[in-house]
Symmetry: D2
Subunit: 142 residues, 4 copies
Protein backbone atom coordinates (compact mmCIF):
# COMPACT_ATOMS: atom_id res chain seq x y z
CA UNK A 1 0.00 0.00 0.00
CA UNK A 2 1.45 3.34 -1.08
CA UNK A 3 0.00 6.44 0.53
CA UNK A 4 0.22 10.08 -0.53
CA UNK A 5 -1.32 13.20 0.93
CA UNK A 6 -2.89 16.27 -0.57
CA UNK A 7 -5.36 19.01 0.21
CA UNK A 8 -8.70 19.76 -1.49
CA UNK A 9 -8.35 22.61 -4.00
CA UNK A 10 -11.03 25.28 -4.18
CA UNK A 11 -11.60 24.53 -7.87
CA UNK A 12 -12.39 20.91 -7.00
CA UNK A 13 -15.61 21.88 -5.20
CA UNK A 14 -18.99 22.38 -6.86
CA UNK A 15 -22.12 24.30 -5.98
CA UNK A 16 -23.28 21.56 -3.60
CA UNK A 17 -20.38 22.82 -1.46
CA UNK A 18 -18.34 19.61 -1.61
CA UNK A 19 -15.75 18.03 -3.91
CA UNK A 20 -17.22 17.17 -7.30
CA UNK A 21 -17.32 13.40 -7.72
CA UNK A 22 -15.28 13.33 -10.95
CA UNK A 23 -12.20 14.57 -9.07
CA UNK A 24 -11.79 11.25 -7.30
CA UNK A 25 -10.70 9.71 -10.60
CA UNK A 26 -7.97 12.33 -10.75
CA UNK A 27 -6.95 11.47 -7.19
CA UNK A 28 -6.90 7.75 -8.01
CA UNK A 29 -4.58 8.62 -10.89
CA UNK A 30 -2.26 10.46 -8.51
CA UNK A 31 -2.25 7.38 -6.27
CA UNK A 32 -1.53 5.07 -9.18
CA UNK A 33 1.36 7.23 -10.39
CA UNK A 34 2.78 7.36 -6.86
CA UNK A 35 2.59 3.55 -6.68
CA UNK A 36 4.48 3.18 -9.95
CA UNK A 37 7.02 5.78 -8.85
CA UNK A 38 7.57 3.75 -5.67
CA UNK A 39 8.19 0.74 -7.91
CA UNK A 40 10.83 2.74 -9.79
CA UNK A 41 8.72 3.36 -12.88
CA UNK A 42 8.60 6.85 -14.31
CA UNK A 43 5.66 7.23 -16.70
CA UNK A 44 7.58 9.73 -18.81
CA UNK A 45 10.18 7.00 -19.45
CA UNK A 46 7.46 4.48 -20.19
CA UNK A 47 5.88 6.80 -22.76
CA UNK A 48 9.32 7.62 -24.23
CA UNK A 49 9.70 3.86 -24.69
CA UNK A 50 6.45 3.89 -26.66
CA UNK A 51 4.27 2.30 -24.00
CA UNK A 52 0.89 3.86 -23.18
CA UNK A 53 -1.33 2.80 -20.27
CA UNK A 54 -4.97 3.62 -21.06
CA UNK A 55 -7.62 3.07 -18.42
CA UNK A 56 -10.20 0.53 -19.59
CA UNK A 57 -12.48 0.50 -16.53
CA UNK A 58 -12.95 2.44 -13.35
CA UNK A 59 -15.48 2.39 -10.55
CA UNK A 60 -15.88 4.47 -7.42
CA UNK A 61 -18.14 4.37 -4.38
CA UNK A 62 -18.59 7.65 -2.56
CA UNK A 63 -18.95 7.32 1.21
CA UNK A 64 -18.58 10.79 2.68
CA UNK A 65 -18.13 14.24 1.19
CA UNK A 66 -14.77 15.93 1.10
CA UNK A 67 -14.81 19.69 1.67
CA UNK A 68 -12.61 22.54 0.51
CA UNK A 69 -9.22 22.61 2.28
CA UNK A 70 -9.63 19.09 3.78
CA UNK A 71 -6.38 17.19 3.87
CA UNK A 72 -6.76 13.66 2.55
CA UNK A 73 -4.80 10.47 2.01
CA UNK A 74 -4.89 8.38 -1.14
CA UNK A 75 -3.99 4.77 -0.35
CA UNK A 76 -3.22 2.66 -3.41
CA UNK A 77 -2.82 -1.10 -3.63
CA UNK A 78 -2.05 -3.22 -6.66
CA UNK A 79 -4.76 -5.90 -6.51
CA UNK A 80 -4.08 -7.83 -9.69
CA UNK A 81 -1.48 -7.63 -12.42
CA UNK A 82 0.28 -9.35 -15.24
CA UNK A 83 2.34 -8.15 -18.20
CA UNK A 84 -0.76 -6.93 -20.00
CA UNK A 85 -2.80 -5.16 -17.31
CA UNK A 86 -2.80 -3.64 -13.84
CA UNK A 87 -5.75 -3.44 -11.45
CA UNK A 88 -5.39 -0.93 -8.65
CA UNK A 89 -7.60 -0.43 -5.58
CA UNK A 90 -7.88 2.94 -3.88
CA UNK A 91 -9.13 4.34 -0.61
CA UNK A 92 -9.37 8.07 -0.04
CA UNK A 93 -9.44 9.03 3.65
CA UNK A 94 -9.88 12.37 5.38
CA UNK A 95 -6.60 12.90 7.18
CA UNK A 96 -7.77 14.33 10.47
CA UNK A 97 -9.96 11.37 11.43
CA UNK A 98 -9.38 8.67 8.78
CA UNK A 99 -12.99 9.00 7.65
CA UNK A 100 -13.43 7.01 4.43
CA UNK A 101 -14.37 9.44 1.67
CA UNK A 102 -14.39 7.10 -1.31
CA UNK A 103 -13.01 3.82 -2.56
CA UNK A 104 -12.70 2.33 -5.99
CA UNK A 105 -10.64 0.48 -8.55
CA UNK A 106 -9.14 1.07 -11.96
CA UNK A 107 -7.99 -1.34 -14.64
CA UNK A 108 -5.48 -0.34 -17.28
CA UNK A 109 -3.82 -2.15 -20.12
CA UNK A 110 -0.61 -1.36 -21.97
CA UNK A 111 -0.55 -0.39 -25.61
CA UNK A 112 1.95 0.76 -28.18
CA UNK A 113 1.71 4.20 -29.77
CA UNK A 114 -0.75 2.84 -32.33
CA UNK A 115 -3.10 1.75 -29.57
CA UNK A 116 -2.49 -2.00 -29.92
CA UNK A 117 -2.30 -4.07 -26.74
CA UNK A 118 1.26 -4.78 -25.75
CA UNK A 119 2.96 -6.53 -22.84
CA UNK A 120 5.43 -5.09 -20.36
CA UNK A 121 9.03 -6.17 -20.86
CA UNK A 122 10.99 -7.85 -18.07
CA UNK A 123 12.56 -4.69 -16.78
CA UNK A 124 9.26 -2.99 -16.01
CA UNK A 125 7.45 -6.16 -15.02
CA UNK A 126 10.03 -7.08 -12.42
CA UNK A 127 9.90 -3.63 -10.83
CA UNK A 128 6.17 -3.93 -10.36
CA UNK A 129 6.45 -7.52 -9.20
CA UNK A 130 9.09 -6.59 -6.62
CA UNK A 131 6.97 -3.85 -5.07
CA UNK A 132 3.91 -6.09 -5.15
CA UNK A 133 5.73 -8.86 -3.25
CA UNK A 134 7.07 -6.44 -0.70
CA UNK A 135 3.61 -4.90 -0.22
CA UNK A 136 2.01 -8.31 0.15
CA UNK A 137 4.54 -9.28 2.80
CA UNK A 138 4.12 -6.06 4.76
CA UNK A 139 0.32 -6.11 4.67
CA UNK A 140 0.17 -2.44 5.56
CA UNK A 141 -3.38 -1.27 5.91
CA UNK A 142 -4.51 2.17 4.98
CA UNK B 1 -33.36 7.34 -23.87
CA UNK B 2 -32.40 11.00 -24.01
CA UNK B 3 -29.57 11.96 -26.30
CA UNK B 4 -27.44 15.10 -26.42
CA UNK B 5 -24.50 16.07 -28.58
CA UNK B 6 -21.27 17.86 -27.91
CA UNK B 7 -17.75 18.19 -29.23
CA UNK B 8 -14.47 17.28 -27.49
CA UNK B 9 -12.77 20.33 -26.01
CA UNK B 10 -9.02 20.78 -26.36
CA UNK B 11 -8.66 20.99 -22.59
CA UNK B 12 -10.27 17.56 -22.24
CA UNK B 13 -7.32 15.82 -23.89
CA UNK B 14 -4.17 14.67 -22.11
CA UNK B 15 -0.64 13.96 -23.20
CA UNK B 16 -1.58 10.52 -24.51
CA UNK B 17 -3.37 12.56 -27.22
CA UNK B 18 -6.90 11.42 -26.33
CA UNK B 19 -9.66 12.49 -23.95
CA UNK B 20 -8.67 11.99 -20.32
CA UNK B 21 -10.81 9.25 -18.79
CA UNK B 22 -12.12 11.39 -15.91
CA UNK B 23 -14.01 13.58 -18.39
CA UNK B 24 -16.51 10.84 -19.12
CA UNK B 25 -17.96 11.34 -15.63
CA UNK B 26 -18.57 14.98 -16.55
CA UNK B 27 -20.24 13.87 -19.77
CA UNK B 28 -22.41 11.36 -17.89
CA UNK B 29 -23.45 14.27 -15.66
CA UNK B 30 -24.44 16.31 -18.71
CA UNK B 31 -26.54 13.36 -19.92
CA UNK B 32 -28.18 12.95 -16.52
CA UNK B 33 -29.05 16.64 -16.32
CA UNK B 34 -30.47 16.53 -19.86
CA UNK B 35 -32.61 13.53 -18.87
CA UNK B 36 -34.00 15.36 -15.84
CA UNK B 37 -34.56 18.49 -17.94
CA UNK B 38 -36.55 16.36 -20.42
CA UNK B 39 -38.61 15.17 -17.44
CA UNK B 40 -39.32 18.78 -16.52
CA UNK B 41 -36.95 18.92 -13.57
CA UNK B 42 -34.60 21.88 -13.25
CA UNK B 43 -31.81 21.11 -10.81
CA UNK B 44 -31.63 24.75 -9.74
CA UNK B 45 -35.26 24.48 -8.60
CA UNK B 46 -34.54 21.20 -6.85
CA UNK B 47 -31.62 22.75 -4.95
CA UNK B 48 -33.70 25.85 -4.15
CA UNK B 49 -36.22 23.43 -2.62
CA UNK B 50 -33.42 22.10 -0.41
CA UNK B 51 -32.89 18.82 -2.25
CA UNK B 52 -29.37 17.72 -3.15
CA UNK B 53 -28.54 14.72 -5.36
CA UNK B 54 -25.07 13.39 -4.47
CA UNK B 55 -23.57 10.61 -6.54
CA UNK B 56 -22.91 7.51 -4.41
CA UNK B 57 -21.46 5.21 -7.06
CA UNK B 58 -20.23 5.42 -10.60
CA UNK B 59 -18.56 3.03 -12.99
CA UNK B 60 -17.31 3.39 -16.52
CA UNK B 61 -15.88 1.05 -19.16
CA UNK B 62 -13.75 2.67 -21.82
CA UNK B 63 -14.04 1.07 -25.25
CA UNK B 64 -12.42 3.45 -27.73
CA UNK B 65 -10.55 6.72 -27.40
CA UNK B 66 -12.20 10.02 -28.17
CA UNK B 67 -10.00 12.60 -29.83
CA UNK B 68 -9.92 16.39 -29.83
CA UNK B 69 -12.74 17.92 -31.88
CA UNK B 70 -14.67 14.63 -32.19
CA UNK B 71 -18.41 15.13 -32.04
CA UNK B 72 -20.07 12.67 -29.68
CA UNK B 73 -23.49 11.63 -28.42
CA UNK B 74 -24.34 10.98 -24.79
CA UNK B 75 -27.31 8.60 -24.54
CA UNK B 76 -28.86 8.41 -21.10
CA UNK B 77 -31.41 5.93 -19.81
CA UNK B 78 -32.97 5.71 -16.36
CA UNK B 79 -32.43 2.08 -15.43
CA UNK B 80 -33.80 2.00 -11.90
CA UNK B 81 -35.47 4.53 -9.64
CA UNK B 82 -37.61 5.15 -6.61
CA UNK B 83 -38.21 8.19 -4.40
CA UNK B 84 -34.83 7.76 -2.73
CA UNK B 85 -32.45 7.05 -5.60
CA UNK B 86 -31.88 7.13 -9.36
CA UNK B 87 -29.68 4.78 -11.38
CA UNK B 88 -28.74 6.02 -14.83
CA UNK B 89 -27.00 4.16 -17.67
CA UNK B 90 -24.95 5.97 -20.26
CA UNK B 91 -23.45 5.30 -23.64
CA UNK B 92 -21.08 7.74 -25.29
CA UNK B 93 -20.83 7.31 -29.06
CA UNK B 94 -18.68 9.00 -31.67
CA UNK B 95 -21.14 10.81 -33.86
CA UNK B 96 -19.71 10.20 -37.31
CA UNK B 97 -19.84 6.39 -37.10
CA UNK B 98 -21.62 5.53 -33.85
CA UNK B 99 -18.43 3.96 -32.48
CA UNK B 100 -18.95 3.19 -28.79
CA UNK B 101 -16.47 5.26 -26.80
CA UNK B 102 -17.56 4.41 -23.26
CA UNK B 103 -20.48 3.18 -21.26
CA UNK B 104 -21.27 3.27 -17.57
CA UNK B 105 -23.74 3.91 -14.80
CA UNK B 106 -24.23 6.26 -11.89
CA UNK B 107 -26.30 5.96 -8.75
CA UNK B 108 -27.43 9.01 -6.82
CA UNK B 109 -29.54 9.51 -3.74
CA UNK B 110 -31.44 12.58 -2.56
CA UNK B 111 -30.51 14.43 0.61
CA UNK B 112 -31.54 17.56 2.42
CA UNK B 113 -29.13 20.46 2.92
CA UNK B 114 -27.73 18.74 6.01
CA UNK B 115 -26.81 15.70 3.95
CA UNK B 116 -29.49 13.37 5.36
CA UNK B 117 -31.20 11.00 2.95
CA UNK B 118 -34.58 12.31 1.86
CA UNK B 119 -37.27 11.14 -0.54
CA UNK B 120 -38.60 12.93 -3.59
CA UNK B 121 -42.06 14.43 -3.17
CA UNK B 122 -44.94 13.52 -5.51
CA UNK B 123 -44.43 16.43 -7.85
CA UNK B 124 -40.85 15.48 -8.73
CA UNK B 125 -41.41 11.75 -8.53
CA UNK B 126 -44.28 11.83 -11.00
CA UNK B 127 -42.29 13.81 -13.52
CA UNK B 128 -39.55 11.21 -13.50
CA UNK B 129 -42.05 8.37 -13.53
CA UNK B 130 -43.85 9.86 -16.54
CA UNK B 131 -40.68 10.15 -18.61
CA UNK B 132 -39.58 6.69 -17.55
CA UNK B 133 -42.87 5.15 -18.68
CA UNK B 134 -42.76 6.97 -21.98
CA UNK B 135 -39.14 5.91 -22.55
CA UNK B 136 -39.93 2.31 -21.71
CA UNK B 137 -42.80 2.28 -24.16
CA UNK B 138 -40.77 3.85 -26.96
CA UNK B 139 -37.77 1.56 -26.49
CA UNK B 140 -35.54 3.93 -28.39
CA UNK B 141 -32.05 2.59 -28.73
CA UNK B 142 -28.97 4.71 -28.76
CA UNK C 1 -16.87 38.02 -34.94
CA UNK C 2 -17.61 34.31 -34.59
CA UNK C 3 -20.15 33.32 -31.98
CA UNK C 4 -20.86 29.94 -30.41
CA UNK C 5 -23.28 28.89 -27.71
CA UNK C 6 -23.04 26.51 -24.80
CA UNK C 7 -24.56 25.85 -21.40
CA UNK C 8 -22.83 25.96 -17.99
CA UNK C 9 -21.93 22.46 -16.78
CA UNK C 10 -22.52 21.50 -13.17
CA UNK C 11 -18.85 20.61 -12.77
CA UNK C 12 -17.88 24.14 -13.81
CA UNK C 13 -19.36 25.65 -10.63
CA UNK C 14 -17.57 25.96 -7.31
CA UNK C 15 -18.69 26.27 -3.71
CA UNK C 16 -19.40 30.00 -4.12
CA UNK C 17 -22.31 28.76 -6.26
CA UNK C 18 -21.10 30.27 -9.54
CA UNK C 19 -18.80 29.28 -12.40
CA UNK C 20 -15.18 29.01 -11.27
CA UNK C 21 -13.14 31.76 -12.91
CA UNK C 22 -10.59 29.42 -14.52
CA UNK C 23 -13.29 27.98 -16.78
CA UNK C 24 -13.47 31.17 -18.80
CA UNK C 25 -10.05 30.34 -20.25
CA UNK C 26 -11.51 27.06 -21.45
CA UNK C 27 -14.43 28.92 -22.98
CA UNK C 28 -12.09 31.39 -24.69
CA UNK C 29 -10.31 28.36 -26.13
CA UNK C 30 -13.59 27.02 -27.51
CA UNK C 31 -14.22 30.41 -29.11
CA UNK C 32 -10.73 30.53 -30.62
CA UNK C 33 -11.09 27.04 -32.07
CA UNK C 34 -14.50 27.96 -33.52
CA UNK C 35 -12.94 31.05 -35.11
CA UNK C 36 -10.19 29.00 -36.74
CA UNK C 37 -12.73 26.40 -37.86
CA UNK C 38 -14.73 29.19 -39.50
CA UNK C 39 -11.53 30.19 -41.29
CA UNK C 40 -11.17 26.63 -42.55
CA UNK C 41 -8.38 25.63 -40.18
CA UNK C 42 -8.64 22.32 -38.37
CA UNK C 43 -6.22 22.24 -35.43
CA UNK C 44 -5.76 18.49 -35.82
CA UNK C 45 -4.42 19.14 -39.34
CA UNK C 46 -2.20 21.93 -38.05
CA UNK C 47 -0.71 19.66 -35.40
CA UNK C 48 -0.33 16.84 -37.95
CA UNK C 49 1.66 19.35 -40.01
CA UNK C 50 3.94 19.83 -37.00
CA UNK C 51 2.64 23.24 -35.97
CA UNK C 52 1.77 23.91 -32.33
CA UNK C 53 0.02 27.06 -31.07
CA UNK C 54 0.96 27.65 -27.42
CA UNK C 55 -0.70 30.46 -25.52
CA UNK C 56 1.85 33.02 -24.32
CA UNK C 57 -0.45 35.45 -22.54
CA UNK C 58 -4.04 35.64 -21.43
CA UNK C 59 -6.08 38.10 -19.43
CA UNK C 60 -9.69 38.13 -18.32
CA UNK C 61 -11.98 40.61 -16.59
CA UNK C 62 -14.95 39.13 -14.78
CA UNK C 63 -18.07 41.28 -14.87
CA UNK C 64 -20.97 39.12 -13.70
CA UNK C 65 -21.25 35.60 -12.39
CA UNK C 66 -22.46 32.76 -14.58
CA UNK C 67 -24.60 30.17 -12.84
CA UNK C 68 -25.20 26.48 -13.39
CA UNK C 69 -27.34 25.76 -16.47
CA UNK C 70 -27.04 29.32 -17.84
CA UNK C 71 -26.82 29.41 -21.60
CA UNK C 72 -24.03 31.67 -22.80
CA UNK C 73 -22.47 33.02 -25.97
CA UNK C 74 -18.75 33.20 -26.66
CA UNK C 75 -18.00 35.94 -29.18
CA UNK C 76 -14.51 35.80 -30.62
CA UNK C 77 -12.72 38.41 -32.71
CA UNK C 78 -9.22 38.31 -34.14
CA UNK C 79 -7.74 41.63 -33.02
CA UNK C 80 -4.19 41.34 -34.29
CA UNK C 81 -2.27 38.78 -36.32
CA UNK C 82 0.71 38.01 -38.47
CA UNK C 83 2.45 34.80 -39.52
CA UNK C 84 4.00 34.39 -36.09
CA UNK C 85 1.16 35.17 -33.68
CA UNK C 86 -2.57 35.61 -33.20
CA UNK C 87 -4.30 37.89 -30.67
CA UNK C 88 -7.93 37.09 -30.01
CA UNK C 89 -10.51 39.10 -28.04
CA UNK C 90 -13.45 37.43 -26.35
CA UNK C 91 -16.75 38.41 -24.83
CA UNK C 92 -18.86 35.92 -22.92
CA UNK C 93 -22.53 36.92 -22.67
CA UNK C 94 -25.48 35.37 -20.85
CA UNK C 95 -27.81 34.34 -23.63
CA UNK C 96 -31.16 35.28 -22.17
CA UNK C 97 -30.35 38.97 -21.67
CA UNK C 98 -26.92 39.57 -23.23
CA UNK C 99 -25.47 40.36 -19.82
CA UNK C 100 -21.69 40.59 -20.13
CA UNK C 101 -20.17 37.86 -17.98
CA UNK C 102 -16.50 38.28 -18.85
CA UNK C 103 -14.18 39.60 -21.50
CA UNK C 104 -10.54 39.02 -22.24
CA UNK C 105 -7.79 38.36 -24.72
CA UNK C 106 -5.29 35.68 -25.55
CA UNK C 107 -2.05 35.77 -27.48
CA UNK C 108 -0.56 32.67 -29.06
CA UNK C 109 2.48 32.01 -31.17
CA UNK C 110 3.24 29.14 -33.51
CA UNK C 111 6.04 26.68 -32.86
CA UNK C 112 7.38 23.49 -34.36
CA UNK C 113 7.31 20.22 -32.43
CA UNK C 114 10.58 21.16 -30.72
CA UNK C 115 9.00 24.31 -29.35
CA UNK C 116 10.86 26.76 -31.60
CA UNK C 117 8.95 29.73 -32.93
CA UNK C 118 7.80 29.18 -36.49
CA UNK C 119 5.72 31.14 -39.00
CA UNK C 120 2.50 30.09 -40.67
CA UNK C 121 2.84 29.11 -44.32
CA UNK C 122 0.80 30.84 -47.04
CA UNK C 123 -2.00 28.31 -47.05
CA UNK C 124 -2.87 28.81 -43.39
CA UNK C 125 -2.05 32.51 -43.34
CA UNK C 126 -4.39 33.28 -46.23
CA UNK C 127 -7.28 31.44 -44.63
CA UNK C 128 -6.95 33.53 -41.49
CA UNK C 129 -6.43 36.69 -43.48
CA UNK C 130 -9.56 36.02 -45.57
CA UNK C 131 -11.80 35.58 -42.53
CA UNK C 132 -10.23 38.60 -40.85
CA UNK C 133 -10.96 40.82 -43.88
CA UNK C 134 -14.51 39.57 -44.12
CA UNK C 135 -15.05 40.13 -40.39
CA UNK C 136 -13.61 43.62 -40.58
CA UNK C 137 -15.90 44.50 -43.44
CA UNK C 138 -19.02 43.13 -41.75
CA UNK C 139 -18.29 44.80 -38.41
CA UNK C 140 -20.66 42.46 -36.62
CA UNK C 141 -20.93 43.27 -32.97
CA UNK C 142 -21.43 40.69 -30.29
CA UNK D 1 6.41 35.97 -0.42
CA UNK D 2 4.75 32.67 0.44
CA UNK D 3 5.90 29.61 -1.46
CA UNK D 4 4.27 26.21 -1.87
CA UNK D 5 5.27 23.17 -3.87
CA UNK D 6 3.36 20.68 -5.94
CA UNK D 7 3.83 18.26 -8.81
CA UNK D 8 2.16 18.36 -12.24
CA UNK D 9 -0.77 15.94 -12.42
CA UNK D 10 -1.26 13.78 -15.51
CA UNK D 11 -4.74 15.20 -16.00
CA UNK D 12 -3.28 18.72 -16.17
CA UNK D 13 -1.53 18.00 -19.48
CA UNK D 14 -3.12 18.31 -22.91
CA UNK D 15 -2.41 16.80 -26.31
CA UNK D 16 0.42 19.28 -26.97
CA UNK D 17 2.22 17.24 -24.27
CA UNK D 18 2.50 20.06 -21.72
CA UNK D 19 0.38 21.57 -18.95
CA UNK D 20 -2.79 23.19 -20.33
CA UNK D 21 -2.60 26.94 -19.81
CA UNK D 22 -5.86 27.21 -17.84
CA UNK D 23 -4.33 25.19 -15.00
CA UNK D 24 -2.08 28.08 -14.01
CA UNK D 25 -5.14 29.94 -12.73
CA UNK D 26 -5.82 27.00 -10.45
CA UNK D 27 -2.22 27.08 -9.27
CA UNK D 28 -2.43 30.83 -8.64
CA UNK D 29 -5.51 30.09 -6.53
CA UNK D 30 -3.56 27.55 -4.49
CA UNK D 31 -0.86 30.16 -3.94
CA UNK D 32 -3.40 32.79 -2.89
CA UNK D 33 -5.06 30.42 -0.43
CA UNK D 34 -1.66 29.50 1.02
CA UNK D 35 -0.87 33.19 1.45
CA UNK D 36 -4.12 33.79 3.31
CA UNK D 37 -3.54 30.67 5.42
CA UNK D 38 -0.10 32.05 6.34
CA UNK D 39 -1.86 35.25 7.41
CA UNK D 40 -4.15 33.19 9.66
CA UNK D 41 -7.20 33.42 7.42
CA UNK D 42 -9.17 30.28 6.71
CA UNK D 43 -11.45 30.77 3.69
CA UNK D 44 -14.01 28.38 5.15
CA UNK D 45 -14.31 30.72 8.16
CA UNK D 46 -14.53 33.74 5.88
CA UNK D 47 -17.38 32.17 3.90
CA UNK D 48 -19.09 31.05 7.12
CA UNK D 49 -18.98 34.75 8.13
CA UNK D 50 -20.78 35.56 4.88
CA UNK D 51 -17.81 36.99 3.02
CA UNK D 52 -17.10 35.87 -0.54
CA UNK D 53 -13.97 36.77 -2.53
CA UNK D 54 -14.74 36.69 -6.25
CA UNK D 55 -11.93 37.20 -8.73
CA UNK D 56 -12.56 40.29 -10.90
CA UNK D 57 -9.45 40.18 -13.09
CA UNK D 58 -6.60 37.84 -13.81
CA UNK D 59 -3.72 37.82 -16.24
CA UNK D 60 -0.95 35.36 -16.93
CA UNK D 61 2.18 35.30 -19.09
CA UNK D 62 3.46 31.89 -20.04
CA UNK D 63 7.24 31.65 -20.28
CA UNK D 64 8.13 27.96 -20.45
CA UNK D 65 6.09 24.77 -20.61
CA UNK D 66 5.60 22.61 -17.57
CA UNK D 67 5.56 18.89 -18.20
CA UNK D 68 3.89 15.95 -16.53
CA UNK D 69 5.48 15.07 -13.16
CA UNK D 70 7.50 18.28 -12.97
CA UNK D 71 7.76 19.61 -9.45
CA UNK D 72 7.04 23.32 -9.28
CA UNK D 73 6.94 26.21 -6.83
CA UNK D 74 4.15 28.77 -6.63
CA UNK D 75 5.47 32.02 -5.12
CA UNK D 76 2.76 34.44 -4.08
CA UNK D 77 3.13 38.07 -3.07
CA UNK D 78 0.45 40.53 -2.03
CA UNK D 79 1.13 43.53 -4.26
CA UNK D 80 -1.73 45.82 -3.31
CA UNK D 81 -4.56 45.68 -0.83
CA UNK D 82 -7.16 47.53 1.14
CA UNK D 83 -10.36 46.51 2.92
CA UNK D 84 -12.20 46.12 -0.37
CA UNK D 85 -9.73 44.28 -2.60
CA UNK D 86 -6.55 42.22 -2.82
CA UNK D 87 -4.09 42.11 -5.71
CA UNK D 88 -1.75 39.15 -5.73
CA UNK D 89 1.30 38.50 -7.93
CA UNK D 90 2.44 35.00 -8.73
CA UNK D 91 5.49 33.28 -10.13
CA UNK D 92 5.49 29.61 -10.97
CA UNK D 93 8.97 28.07 -11.14
CA UNK D 94 10.18 24.61 -12.09
CA UNK D 95 11.71 23.29 -8.91
CA UNK D 96 14.79 21.53 -10.21
CA UNK D 97 16.31 24.60 -11.88
CA UNK D 98 14.11 27.58 -10.93
CA UNK D 99 13.09 28.02 -14.57
CA UNK D 100 10.24 30.53 -14.73
CA UNK D 101 7.16 28.77 -16.11
CA UNK D 102 4.61 31.54 -15.77
CA UNK D 103 3.82 34.72 -13.91
CA UNK D 104 0.68 36.70 -13.41
CA UNK D 105 -1.65 38.58 -11.13
CA UNK D 106 -5.18 38.35 -9.79
CA UNK D 107 -7.48 40.94 -8.32
CA UNK D 108 -10.35 39.99 -6.04
CA UNK D 109 -12.93 41.97 -4.15
CA UNK D 110 -15.02 41.00 -1.15
CA UNK D 111 -18.78 40.64 -1.31
CA UNK D 112 -21.60 39.53 0.93
CA UNK D 113 -23.70 36.49 0.11
CA UNK D 114 -25.90 38.64 -2.14
CA UNK D 115 -22.89 39.61 -4.23
CA UNK D 116 -22.66 43.22 -3.03
CA UNK D 117 -19.23 44.68 -2.45
CA UNK D 118 -18.30 44.65 1.19
CA UNK D 119 -15.22 45.62 3.21
CA UNK D 120 -13.10 43.40 5.44
CA UNK D 121 -13.56 43.98 9.15
CA UNK D 122 -10.64 44.84 11.42
CA UNK D 123 -9.93 41.30 12.48
CA UNK D 124 -9.32 40.05 8.96
CA UNK D 125 -7.75 43.25 7.71
CA UNK D 126 -5.13 43.30 10.44
CA UNK D 127 -4.12 39.73 9.77
CA UNK D 128 -3.45 40.54 6.14
CA UNK D 129 -1.74 43.79 7.03
CA UNK D 130 0.53 42.04 9.54
CA UNK D 131 1.72 39.46 7.00
CA UNK D 132 2.13 42.13 4.34
CA UNK D 133 4.36 44.24 6.62
CA UNK D 134 6.43 41.26 7.59
CA UNK D 135 6.83 40.23 3.95
CA UNK D 136 7.81 43.73 2.93
CA UNK D 137 10.45 43.87 5.62
CA UNK D 138 11.91 40.47 4.75
CA UNK D 139 11.98 41.13 1.00
CA UNK D 140 12.26 37.43 0.24
CA UNK D 141 12.61 36.78 -3.46
CA UNK D 142 11.17 33.76 -5.13
Amino acid sequence: MISIEDRVRFVETDLMGVVHHANYLRWFEMGRIAYLRAAGIDLNDLMAAGIMFPIVAVECQYKNSAKFDDEYLICTTLSEFNRAKLVFSYKVLRKKDNLLLAEGTSRNVFTNLQGRITRLNNEYYQKIDALYRQETKEKKEC
